[in-house]
C-alpha cells in the first residue's frame, strides 16, 4: 500500500429531483482512496453509498464536486475519453448483471471485442476464467450457474480490460455467507496479486472486516466516520459505527442474552459486569490469571471474541468480576494501564460501547 491517491472525490453533491421532491443522496462528501487500498464504504440502504461510488466512473454524474481518478478529471472528459477511462475502472454488482444471451466466455470477452484479435481474446478469456476458477463453465449460459459462480464471471468480465480499480457495489449481498467469503477471498487475492485497488460497498461490516484496510461509514448521504480498519473497530466514535461493529462481532446478540440472564446472575455489590476490549499486543498477556494473582479478583467469562483485523488481534470479553470493592478498582486500573478499555455494563443498558 502506497500513499499515492488513485481516486479523489472532493465535495461531491448528488441531488435527485423527482416529481417536485428534492433528494440529497450525497452531501458534500470527500473521499480519497490510495493505490492498493481495499476501501470499504458501509451504510444501511439509502445511505447514498451506491450513488457515491457510481460517481467514480460517472455512471452517476454528480451535481457538484470534482472527481479525479488516476490523475484524470473524470467530469471533464469527452464521451470517447470517458469510455477509455471507464475501462480502467471495473465494476461488479449485487445482481451480477450478466448477459443471459451470451455464454460465460462471451460475457467475459464482451469488453474485449474490437480491442483484441480473436485469438488473443480467446486466450485472455481463458486466462480470466482460470483466474476466477471457472474454466470448465466457458460454454455454459449464466442461467446454468449459481449466484457465486455468476459473480465470479462478473469479476472476470470486470477484469477483462486490466483495470486498476474495482468497484464492488453490494457484490456479496445476494450471496450466502460461505459464497460471500469465497468471493471476498478472491477480491483480496486480486488485490494482492494484481495490485488492484478495490472499493467495496456493503451493508455488512463482516465483509469489511474480512478484507478491507480502510473503512468509511455513511449515513444520510454523508460520511460520518472514516479511518483504517483497526482503529475504526477498536475506537468507533459514532453510534451507527458502533452498531455496525457490534453486529459484526455479535456482541449485541451476546449482550441481549446476557441481559436476559442478568437478573438470574443476581449480581451482588462485590460483582461487576464489565466489557473488556483490547487491541494488538495486550491480547497476549494472561490477563484473567494476573487479575486473580494480584488482586484476588475472580473473572467469570460470559462471552469472548477475538477478531484478527489486518493481522492485528482485537479482543472483546464480557466478564463478571468478583472481589473486594477497592480491589476491583485496582484491577480496573491495572487493566487500563495495560491498554484495555473497560466498560461497566448495567443489565438495564440496552446499548454498549
Amino acid at each position: 500500500m502506497t500513499n499515492e491517491a488513485i481516486i479523489e472525490l472532493k465535495n461531491i453533491d448528488v441531488t435527485f429531483h423527482n416529481k417536485g421532491q428534492t433528494v440529497n443522496a450525497v452531501k458534500d462528501v470527500s473521499l480519497t482512496v490510495n493505490r492498493g487500498d481495499i476501501y470499504g464504504v458501509v451504510g444501511y440502504s439509502g445511505a447514498g453509498k451506491s450513488t457515491l461510488v457510481r460517481v467514480i466512473n460517472r455512471l452517476q454524474p454528480p451535481t457538484a464536486g470534482t472527481v479525479v481518478v488516476n490523475g484524470q478529471d473524470i467530469l471533464h472528459l469527452t464521451p470517447r475519453k470517458l469510455r477509455a477511462a471507464r475501462t480502467k475502472i471495473g465494476m461488479i454488482f449485487q445482481h451480477f448483471n450478466l448477459m443471459d444471451a451470451r455464454t460465460i466466455a462471451d460475457n467475459v470477452g464482451y469488453p474485449l471485442r474490437f480491442r483484441l484479435s480473436k485469438k488473443n481474446r480467446q486466450e485472455k478469456v481463458a486466462h480470466l476464467l482460470d483466474l476466477v476458477g471457472l474454466s470448465e463453465k466457458a460454454n455454459d449460459y449464466p442461467a446454468q450457474l449459481s449466484g457465486g459462480q455468476k459473480q465470479r464471471v462478473a469479476i472476470a468480465r470486470a477484469l477483462a480490460n486490466d483495470p486498476e480499480i474495482l468497484i464492488s457495489d453490494e457484490a456479496t449481498s445476494a450471496l450466502d455467507p460461505k459464497t460471500t467469503s469465497s468471493i471476498l477471498e478472491l477480491l483480496k487475492r486480486l488485490n494482492k496479486e494484481l495490485g488492484l485497488t478495490v472499493v467495496l460497498i456493503t451493508h455488512e461490516m463482516e465483509a469489511v472486516k474480512e478484507i478491507c484496510n480502510k473503512v468509511a461509514v455513511m449515513e444520510s448521504g454523508e460520511i460520518i466516520e472514516r479511518g483504517d480498519l483497526v482503529s475504526i473497530f477498536s475506537q468507533p466514535k459514532k453510534p451507527l459505527t458502533q452498531d455496525f461493529i457490534n453486529t459484526a462481532t455479535q456482541i449485541n446478540q451476546a449482550l441481549e442474552k446476557i441481559y436476559k440472564q442478568a437478573s438470574a446472575l443476581n449480581l451482588s455489590d462485590h460483582q461487576q459486569l464489565v466489557q473488556l476490549q483490547y487491541v494488538g499486543a495486550s491480547t497476549d498477556a494472561p490477563l484473567i490469571t494476573e487479575l486473580y494473582k494480584r488482586y484476588d479478583v475472580v473473572s467469570n467469562i460470559l462471552y469472548g471474541n477475538v477478531e484478527i483485523l489486518q493481522d492485528t488481534p482485537l479482543g472483546n470479553l464480557i466478564v463478571v468480576m468478583s472481589g473486594e470493592p477497592d480491589k476491583l478498582q485496582d484491577a480496573w486500573q491495572y487493566c487500563q494501564d495495560a491498554g484495555i478499555k473497560i466498560t461497566h455494563l448495567k443489565p438495564t443498558d440496552s446499548e454498549v460501547a
Binding site: R83, M91, Y110, A143
Partner: protein, 227 residues
C-alpha cells in the same frame, strides 16, 4: 382429389387464381415486413434510447416518435387506406394494386412494430446496460451488442406477432383493391356466393400464419437462454 372437387367445386377450377393470390399475399407481406421492419426497428430503438433514463435521453425526439406512433396506431386501417391514397399515388404512381397496397401496409404496421420493439427492449435489464457502460461501451455498442442481442428472443416473438397482424392487414387491403387472398375471399368468394373459395382462401391464410408462428417459436426458443 375427388373429395376436394366435391367440397370445393368452384375453387377447384381456380387453381391459377389461388396461386397468384397466394403469391400476391406473400409479396405484400414480405416487402412490407422488410420496409416496416426496418422502420419499426429504428423507431423502436429510438424510443428506447431517447426515453427518460435512456442511454441517449432526449425528450424532444422521444416525444416526436411517441406521438407519431400513437397517431398512426389510432387510425383504423380501412380508413387509413383511403386517407393516404394521394400519398400512395405520389410514391407508386397508382392507388390500386398489390404494390400500391404496400404503402398503407407499411404505415399501418411500422408503428405497431415500433411499439413491440420498444416493449421487447424495455425487458432488457437496466443493470446489464449499466455493466456494459462500466466496461466502456458506447451508445452504438449498447444498442447492437446489448439491447438487440439480449432482447433477441423477445424481438423474434414480437416480429411473429407483427407478421401475423400484417397478414390480417393484407387481407383487408386486398379486399379493397390490393389483390391477394383477401381479394379472392371477398370479391370472388363472398360476392359470387362461392363460399368454398372464401373458405379455401381462409385456410391458406391459416397455414401461412401457423407456419410463421411455428418457425418464430423455434427461433425464439433457440436464442433464449434465460431458463
Amino acid at each position: 382429389m375427388s373429395w376436394f372437387a366435391k367440397y370445393f367445386p368452384n375453387a377447384v377450377t381456380m387453381k391459377s387464381d389461388f396461386i397468384q393470390a397466394t403469391g400476391e399475399t406473400l409479396y405484400m407481406t414480405l416487402i412490407t415486413a422488410v420496409v416496416a421492419g426496418i422502420l419499426g426497428m429504428i423507431i423502436g430503438v429510438g424510443l428506447i434510447v431517447t426515453q427518460p433514463g435512456g442511454i441517449l435521453e432526449n425528450r424532444i425526439i422521444y416525444n416526436i416518435f411517441d406521438k407519431i406512433v400513437n397517431l398512426c396506431r389510432s387510425i383504423p386501417f380501412v380508413i387509413l387506406l383511403a386517407v393516404i391514397a394521394p400519398l400512395t399515388r405520389l410514391i407508386v404512381g397508382t392507388a390500386i394494386g398489390t404494390t400500391a397496397a404496400i404503402v398503407p401496409l407499411v404505415i399501418g404496421s411500422a408503428p405497431f412494430y415500433a411499439r413491440q420493439i420498444q416493449n421487447a427492449l424495455a425487458e432488457v435489464d437496466h443493470g446489464v446496460i449499466e455493466a456494459a457502460e462500466s466496461v466502456g461501451s458506447g451508445p452504438m455498442g449498447i444498442i447492437f451488442r446489448v439491447y438487440l442481442k439480449e432482447g433477441l428472443a423477445d424481438i423474434i416473438r414480437s416480429s411473429v406477432l407483427t407478421l401475423i397482424s400484417l397478414i390480417d392487414l393484407t387481407a383487408m387491403a386486398g379486399a379493397i383493391g390490393g389483390g391477394g387472398l383477401g381479394n379472392l375471399a371477398i370479391n370472388v368468394g363472398y360476392s359470387r356466393f362461392e363460399t368454398d373459395v372464401t373458405v379455401l382462401a381462409m385456410l391458406i391464410i391459416l397455414v401461412i400464419v401457423f407456419a410463421i408462428q411455428l418457425v418464430g417459436d423455434l427461433l425464439a426458443r433457440r436464442v433464449d437462454h434465460t431458463a
